[in-house]
Symmetry: D2
Subunit: 140 residues, 4 copies
């Protein structure tokens, strides 16, 4: 199955492209379906913390943005959403080559949408969860 | 009053210096006292989102790290703390020249420490709150 | 200073009165001002957990409701607010005679309002913080 | 399959029984397996808010306690866990006959355990999600 819904992609890719910081990092869309979004980021030493793992700020960035895009994917054309708030639990060190955030919408509402994002690290062929987040998005 | 407690600074500065991502961003320590930490980051277009304001991922990074350093400042020498989790509310766009995160410890415990961080944007001589966060830190 | 703004009280008291569970508990309004609300609950063994202290569910109830009322106090007549979400950190056991929740609005918005609530236990003449919460309210 | 692990039940039931507030409400254990717990509460007008639905404080109580018991179920005998913090999103009104909280452990750690709880309302033969929560538990 194609993991990218092309119509959605054409609608949302410009939003990612316009986010200079995400471009600077090199965040990529891996999956995009109504209510679901996966983004990833390859390791670079610039994104690291004191032990050489992905920095928590990068983990938070991917959690927040994947949830936001999952939310945006459920909105009618011309609408977008902003993150009103999120909560993130770190559960393991993000040591590996690729950081992956998989978000899905739990409840899509007219004004508020709730989404979760689970963040994983890929190291060789292994994947391990490093964080989990719960976000509230507001339609604008 | 000197806003930097020099003994604390010498203990914590290496931790910041070792966080390559924070160095890459250019995060600076403005205040450091037992239970209190202020850090700041000057605007650069690379840290921006679609409207040219500071990206939410940068706001989250400063919230998380300021809370962590406020927590670390209350720990005995040789101990550090990690962020177990945090929750962040965005309350206004981060449009301005300098992003400032002011964190203080609410409860310092043996194992868990709770800290809050309030994030402000400075634009000219004005300051405006852009986010508020509540974090749980674990002593390691 | 009178801690109760009578006009606000007359507008919000019916909302509390209509919440049967709060009446069942015996929650009382101690302070009510625009953007600020304090409620309290006297100890009863029915509200206790295994050690005889106030149960966490009661602490959460007061945190949520005090934040909601602080939010409601900033809204124009005819509008009310619902809790969209909250996050609560427990920081000490709620051992004492009276549980007190003090909430204040951090940011009042047209659609979303952010409020914090700090929860204290009064034991004799001493007061101790037992929890802190951050809530997002939606205007309805 | 028996939904109750009897060995676990005998270990955890006393903890529930000792929580007077949960007994007062009438909370029941529906499922208990390592890393998983479901509890429920039948509607009573005493637990209602202004529209006659389950009060948010009751929803929070079940979210917190189900997560705590899921966490406790993964701990070695003689250990228990306390809720350090939780975050709860309300997503629909809790209008119905039975409130059900289903919690599962996301990450069981030596000191900290992360669990989620999804809360549903049963109305006739239909079930609908009313809230979702993410909790951090500390082993004691």
């Amino acid at each position: 199955m194609d993991r990218i819904d092309q119509a959605l992609y054409q609608r949302l890719q410009p939003i990612i492209d316009a986010q200079v910081f995400l471009k600077h990092l090199g965040v990529q869309i891996v999956e995009l379906q109504p209510g679901r979004c996966e983004i990833s980021l390859d390791y670079d030493q610039r994104w690291s913390q004191q032990d050489g793992f992905f920095h928590g700020g990068i983990v938070g960035t991917l959690a927040d943005n994947s949830a936001g895009m999952a939310g945006a994917s459920t909105m009618p054309e011309g609408r977008n959403c902003l993150t009103a708030e999120y909560k993130l639990n770190f559960i393991a060190p993000a040591k590996g080559e690729t950081l992956i955030a998989r978000a899905n919408v739990i409840k899509a509402g007219r004004t508020l949408t709730v989404a979760e994002s689970n963040i994983f690290i890929k190291s060789g062929s292994e994947e391990r969860q490093v964080a989990t987040a719960l976000a509230t998005l507001i339609s604008v």
